[in-house]
């Protein structure tokens, strides 16, 4: 932990300029990403709980380190345009990075009795959260951010699957080729299906896209019967390309590294989701993203400012469906099997619930929403089976699915009434409040 000595001492005087060399600015994030390696090499730990403790200390250290290496320059407008430049943003991002890379290791550890929560069964849920965060983020770009209520997103999941099945299985190409082709196909078809949006708005657009959904679904059934028969498609596990075998932690067997365990899938899903969501965040921050929001809020006003409304809508459709299509391809390979009824309107509603609960504005909502959506039922299940009083109630175990749905529905209503801007809004408010308290206490200490 020799980095700690470099931390800046002049934390007072908020108006001063502070420059930090680029290498030092990146370092906390590198430490965060390398934390599993660091923790793994601490071999003198007698039990897993000790490792958790060390990890927690490292988490705090990384956060503090990222906080103190933030640059400060009130006169530089370029700095204000950067993603994560404020101390709090940097600290949170570094800690999130570390938390994300720690998740699979935590889930893979055997814990002693007081902490013997069935962690491993959460792995599937975590993978779904990551994949649905990608799909919901892309859906949010269109429905939340551009205001085009599209119900055709299950169709784009299906198109990603179809590309995955056709390119990967029938043409026998590599899985890694399927992803970009799925993106391109999704974008092209998304722009095509977005054409009704140029004429229709709101509920009418929704109805038109439901029509699109059923047309495309018919195509999927025909396709499935024609190429794969009634049993549906079975995908094989993707093989990591050999030029990536140098990455630490990867030990190929017979020159092959199949992505076939939850642990390995997590890293693949996380990488692709992170890249796509970062891309979306940057789109939202750019001219294009502001044009999307302008089209949503007032399209006449947007036209008067010289925004090409038709183009904006089509770009939003294309971007969103390209990403949903990629997530569809990933989901299918992750699920291993897809059948005739794998894609239905309920999936779009799931995305809808995710972004409504998570929050409409921005990509954060998609992440919060999918955590809510998947983790909660899992938690209920655990409560139902393990908690002494609740597990005695026969009703809950007999109507497990229905009770889950009911509780989820009630919680959706509670969240919406309590905070219409969703969990992301709640998180922002809590963060701002904490920050303000912190600043006040610092100001108090300085006096």
């Amino acid at each position: 932990m020799s980095e700690m000595t470099i931390t800046d001492t002049s934390t007072s005087g908020s108006s001063s300029v502070k420059r930090v060399p680029a290498s030092l600015r990146v370092l906390p994030f590198l430490v965060a990403l390398a934390s599993p390696l660091i923790l793994d090499n601490i071999s003198w730990n007698p039990f897993a709980g000790w490792k958790i403790l060390v990890g927690f200390i490292l988490l705090i250290v990384v956060g503090k380190f990222a906080w103190s290496t933030a640059e400060r320059d009130p006169d530089n407008p370029r700095l204000a345009l950067k993603l994560w430049h404020r101390p709090d943003q940097r600290a949170l991002t570094a800690m999130t990075c570390m938390g994300l890379v720690a998740i699979p290791f935590i889930l893979g550890t055997d814990f002693d009795p007081p902490m013997d929560f069935p962690w491993a069964s959460w792995f599937r849920i975590v993978n779904y959260i990551v994949l649905f965060a990608l799909g919901a983020g892309a859906f949010n770009l269109l429905a939340g951010y551009t205001g085009q209520l599209s119900m055709a997103h299950a169709a784009f999941l299906m198109i990603g699957t179809m590309v995955g099945a056709h390119v990967g299985l029938i043409w026998g190409q590599s899985f890694w080729l399927c992803l970009p082709i799925a993106a391109v196909a999704g974008a092209a078809l998304g722009a095509l299906f977005g054409i009704p949006a140029l004429r229709l708005r709101g509920l009418y657009l929704m109805l038109a896209t439901i029509g699109v959904h059923f047309i495309v679904l018919l195509g999927w059934k025909e396709y499935l019967v024609h190429y794969f028969g009634f049993g549906g498609v079975r995908f094989n596990a993707p093989n990591l390309p050999s030029w990536l075998h140098w990455v630490p932690g990867i030990n190929p067997e017979d020159g092959e590294f199949l992505i076939n365990t939850q642990f390995r899938w997590f890293w693949l899903n996380l990488t692709i989701t992170t890249i796509c969501l970062l891309f979306l965040v940057n789109v939202i921050r750019s001219r294009e993203g502001r044009a999307f929001a302008a089209v949503r809020d007032r399209d006449i006003s947007a036209t008067l400012l010289g925004i090409n409304v038709a183009r904006s809508k089509l770009v939003a459709f294309a971007l969103s469906s390209a990403m949903v299509s990629v997530s569809g391809c990933l989901l299918s390979y992750y699920n291993r099997a897809r059948s005739e009824d794998s894609f239905n309107l309920e999936q779009v509603l799931d995305y809808g619930i995710i972004i409504v609960v998570g929050g409409f504005m921005g990509i954060q909502g998609a992440i919060f929403g999918s955590v809510f959506f998947f983790a909660l039922p899992m938690y209920f299940e655990w409560m139902r089976e393990e908690l002494p009083f609740i597990s005695d109630i026969d009703f809950f175990s007999r109507y497990a699915g229905e009770v889950d749905l009911a509780i989820r529905g009630i919680l959706v209503v509670v969240v919406l009434v309590w905070r219409p801007d969703g969990l992301a809004g709640l998180w922002q408010a809590a963060k701002n409040r904490l920050l303000r308290q912190f600043q006040n206490s610092q100001a108090g200490a300085a006096q």
């Binding site: 809020d297 006003s301 947007a302 008067l304």
Partner: protein, 259 residues
């Protein structure tokens, strides 16, 4: 090329209903022209035609031409018109309520591609409206009416226009704020931007503009230098509350009510 904008014999109709009949209006380079008129006179139709968004209301230009800097713009798409240098402050402000002030202003530069120029214009706009920088990161929908109107004007200025069209700047604002806004329009005008102000509030429009037109049911009924129109008895009666007769009218109404 003496005129920035010249509209010649323009007629517009919404389906079978005519909205403008043979309207001719000229805005000189760097001029300040106002168009007066009551509700339904066709003022908003006029500016929508100029900005090329008439089709959104299903209106149609039946005859006449619109020239901007000598070039016919009546068939252009609105985004080309904005790029050509006409910025429009729409009636009722029409901000993007969920975006911040900063983002709203940046939206105004949607027609431009030069990133460094955009931030330069942004700081110019902030200089022009010193109230705005502290509100930069607030949601535009939460600002007061006057502040919103400032954002709307600033947003239009972000396109670096050579002609600024203001539709009903005074709508729903306190008289003091309206006065401030018009003083700002004066400043913008002095920097070489031609201004076309569409106004119901004839008093303030005539005080600030150099030339004025009066629209009545889709036709230009009066035009002339603003100073002359201000003295005109007809204008005073029609648009400025009847000049000297107001006491007489008031007592007449009182008598009517008491009866």
């Amino acid at each position: 090329m003496s005129n920035a904008l010249s509209i010649d014999e323009l007629s517009v109709s919404y389906g079978p209903i005519p909205a403008l009949k043979n309207v001719s209006i000229e805005v000189p380079n760097g001029g300040f022209v106002s168009v007066l008129g009551a509700n339904g006179a066709g003022k908003t139709t006029l500016v929508r035609t100029i900005s090329g968004v008439l089709y959104l209301q299903k209106g149609k230009r039946t005859s006449g031409s619109i020239k901007f800097g000598g070039e016919d713009i009546s068939k252009l798409k609105s985004r080309s018109i904005v790029r050509g240098g006409i910025a429009h402050v729409p009636e009722g402000r029409m901000l993007f309520p969920h975006l911040t002030v900063d983002e709203n202003l940046r939206c105004g530069a949607a027609s431009r591609r030069d990133t460094s120029g955009i931030s330069e214009t942004l700081s110019e706009v902030f200089d022009l409206f010193p109230q705005l920088p502290p509100l930069q990161h607030q949601q535009a929908g939460l600002l007061s009416g006057g502040e919103q109107q400032m954002v709307a004007v600033g947003r239009a200025l972000m396109a670096k226009p050579s002609l600024l069209i203001c539709d009903e700047l005074s709508l729903g604002l306190a008289p003091l704020i309206v006065r401030d806004l018009f003083l700002l329009l004066d400043r913008i005008n002095q920097e070489g931007v031609a201004v076309l102000a569409i106004e119901q509030n004839a008093r303030i429009a005539l005080r600030h503009s150099k030339y004025a037109y009066a629209l009545e049911v889709g036709e230009v009924v009066l035009e002339g230098p603003s100073a002359e129109l201000r003295e005109n008895q007809e204008v005073q009666d029609l648009y400025m509350g009847g000049g000297g007769d107001i006491r007489e009218a008031y007592t007449a109404i009182r008598r009517e009510v008491n009866r």
